[in-house]
């Protein structure tokens, strides 16, 4: 064991000396994931919540409200028809839909009469955390409605006129209320007009917020949303397993080349003449490769989770996926080293094979957007199965029995390649 560990230590030292390998193995995948992740996250870069809005009221007031939504910093708004809006959330392309029901505009436009304006909202259940932000920003718009009305004296004055007229015409309001408001509202109007005359730059902030607090600015009715979608909600959840493959490729090539380099360096002579077995020599290399693979995958998922908020709900499944993908690619590394024989052979063959695997395995185009024929071809690529294992352990929420297929394929492939490769590989030249 000590011998294996010192081989691992030595190989790590050697690999970390190679700046190119370090870049392509550790830095590049993170850049890749970050760049494409932000693109796939569908415009929700600068942290805006992407929502679909359907205006069923279609009045000037409701349209003004929609404009307020569009103008708000927190929301990225797409205006669409109701069914489209509901679908967008169901498919995961929007976090929430906001339906503006008929009659909304009237209630929204009048301050003191007409009742609380209501909105119907549906939020992607997997993004409940963000629904808080949505509620907050909608309420802020509701409050602003009061603030704007009250801070603009002329508008308030018009509002009051409107209200007085409404009260006078009202049939169902009790007489006492009618007379109270009939006295009270004109006095407020007089005060407002006097206030405006006294000080046109007046900013009655404190008073109005206090007043706004007395009303419910908006009523939000939440609906349950049944989710039905092909892709994950977080773009990084797709690009991290893809990026992983670039890191895996870096490690596989690094160790494959380092194995044949023992010949170039002449150090294989020393390994072979030392009192250790062939199994220990190959085992040390493989262990190093396996540890490196697990490290880069683990590190990338950690970054995915901590920096890009990719949810990891089942860490144990992820460990299983990482380990079986590790075994798979150690076998492939051994096979490439045996077939490639020389540094040039291994890197030429390696990059070629690994690139084709990548192209058809979903490391370049995500599996779930591939055309049908390509999905079929992808079955032949170990990359597909490793990405599926990673995705199954994360956003696809595979059960253990569902994980057996991709993980099992990687394990069997790895062990088969390892046996063939290690038997074929000539240590001494």
């Amino acid at each position: 064991m000590n011998i294996l560990l010192s081989m691992v230590k030595k190989d790590f030292k050697l690999i970390f000396r190679d700046k190119m390998t370090v870049f392509f193995t550790f830095i590049f995948p993170i850049l890749f994931a970050a760049f494409f992740g932000s693109i796939f996250s569908g415009g929700s870069d600068n942290n805006q919540l992407s929502v679909a809005v359907a205006d069923l009221d279609r009045t000037a007031d409701s349209e003004a409200f929609v404009q307020r939504l569009i103008d708000s910093d927190e929301l990225a708004v797409d205006v669409m028809e109701e069914p489209a809006a509901r679908n967008a959330v169901r498919r995961g392309s929007k976090v929430a839909y906001i339906l503006i029901p008929a009659g909304f505009g009237e209630k929204y436009g009048s301050l003191f009469t007409g009742g609380t304006p209501e909105l119907t909202i549906g939020v992607d259940p997997s993004r409940q955390a963000e629904s808080g932000i949505l509620q907050g920003s909608l309420m802020k718009l509701g409050v602003e409605r009061f603030e704007n009305a009250l801070s603009d004296n002329q508008q308030l004055s018009a509002q009051l006129d409107q209200s007085i007229a409404a009260i006078e015409q009202s049939d169902d309001m009790p007489e006492q209320w009618k007379s109270l408001l009939g006295d009270y509202l004109p006095q407020i109007k007089a005060l407002t007009e006097q206030d405006a005359a006294d000080n046109s730059t007046d900013n009655p902030d404190g008073a109005t917020t206090g007043m706004a607090g007395a009303f419910t600015p908006l009523a939000l009715n939440f609906e349950d949303v049944a989710i039905q979608r092909d892709g994950p909600q977080n773009g990084y959840a797709v690009t991290i397993p893809q990026a992983m493959y670039w890191a895996i490729m870096g490690v596989v090539m690094g160790f494959g080349v380092s194995l044949v380099q023992e010949n170039t360096f002449g150090t294989m002579t020393r390994l072979v003449t030392a009192p250790i077995t062939r199994t220990q020599i190959l085992g040390g290399k493989s262990l190093g490769c396996f540890i490196a693979l697990c490290m880069v995958s683990g590190a990338l998922f950690l970054i995915a989770n901590q920096v890009f908020s990719v949810p990891i709900d089942a860490p144990l499944k992820l460990v299983l996926a990482i380990a079986s993908v590790g075994v798979g690619f150690v076998g492939i590394m051994m096979f490439l080293a045996a077939i490639g024989k020389t540094e040039r052979g291994v890197s030429g063959l390696g990059w070629g094979v690994m690139m084709i695997f990548a192209m058809f395995g979903g490391a370049m185009i995500p599996l779930f957007v591939m055309p049908g024929w390509m999905k079929t071809v992808s079955h032949l690529s170990p990359v597909k199965w490793s990405i599926l294992a990673f995705e199954g352990a994360t956003w696809r929420n595979f059960s253990y029995s569902e994980l057996i297929l991709p993980c099992g394929i990687m394990l069997v492939l790895g062990i088969t390649c390892f046996i063939i490769g290690s038997r074929t590989l000539k240590l001494e030249n």
């Binding site: 003449t273 030392a274 009192p275």
Partner: protein, 281 residues
């Protein structure tokens, strides 16, 4: 004792080692002298178990060279440098030492010793890449000493080394002999064999042509020596198989001798006599 019995090895058509047999005694420096391509490295590779011979066998203290027991007794300094140039000298020593399963304190002690022995202590923490050719050769030797083997196989240890470093290496080899090590030393420089080796095997085209102490080889195959006597009037030069008797006769015959020279044949002439070719091509 290392015993090589009737060993042959071919690469395709080419017979690199041809029915080689010899035995190496404890504590001696055994030289394998021959031109490039003579089969020296192949013989070394077979001796340490790197290559399996087509016929014949090798025994190291009675063990097969591929056995762990034999491997622990052999330290190989390959002809082509065998180390990680990207790592430091110390990293290399730690790694290769660990392959022999030495306990940490013992390994540290051995590392200190080989560094000092090879004069690399000051540069131990530098990358091997930055070493001079001579230093790399010394590290190549130092690595093979880590596990304190009984037998040292030094395959052309002075190739690519400047004369000063070469002398340092000679000192190292002699110091190792003084510590009781048994050394197989291959070279195509007859001066090295003559200076260092207790016994020398002369090898060409994979075959052992002659074996013995330097004196024995010269006596047997060196051919005639040369004597020259200078008197007041003349210089007499004579090629002779009996230099001492002839010199005595000349000394008796002349009174006014100013100078005299006795040039013994060298290993170079041994090789020339055995093969009809110069050692160095």
């Amino acid at each position: 004792m290392i015993r090589i019995s009737d060993v042959s090895k071919s690469y395709g058509e080419l017979l690199a080692v041809d029915r080689l047999s010899f035995a190496i005694q404890k504590g001696e420096i055994f030289g394998l002298l021959g031109p490039n391509g003579a089969g020296k490295s192949t013989a070394i590779a077979i001796t340490c178990g790197l290559l399996v011979p087509d016929r014949g066998e090798v025994q190291v203290n009675g063990h097969r060279p591929v056995s762990k027991a034999a491997k622990r007794q052999i330290g190989l300094a390959p002809q082509s440098l065998a180390m990680y140039e990207d790592l430091t000298g110390l990293d290399n020593l730690h790694f290769f030492g660990s392959l022999y399963g030495l306990e940490k304190p013992l390994l540290e002690e051995r590392i200190q010793w080989v560094l000092e022995f090879s004069g690399l202590t000051d540069r131990a923490k530098d990358r091997v890449e930055t070493y001079s050719g001579g230093m790399q050769r010394r590290l190549n030797l130092a690595i093979s000493l880590l596990h304190d083997p009984e037998y040292l196989l030094l395959d052309e240890p002075t190739v690519g080394v400047d004369p000063q470093s070469r002398n340092k290496l000679f000192d190292c080899v002699l110091a190792l002999k003084a510590r009781g090590k048994t050394i197989i030393y291959t070279t195509h420089y007859m001066e090295e064999a003559q200076r260092l080796c207790d016994r020398v095997g002369i090898i060409d085209h994979g075959r052992l042509l002659a074996l013995g102490t330097v004196d024995e080889l010269i006596g047997e195959h060196g051919g005639d020596g040369e004597i020259s006597v200078t008197t007041a009037e003349q210089t007499i030069v004579k090629t002779t198989g009996r230099p001492i008797a002839d010199m005595k006769a000349l000394l008796d015959a002349h009174d006014d001798i100013r100078d005299l020279k006795l040039i013994r044949p060298s290993l170079e002439s041994v090789f020339l006599n055995l093969t009809g070719r110069q050692l160095r091509d």
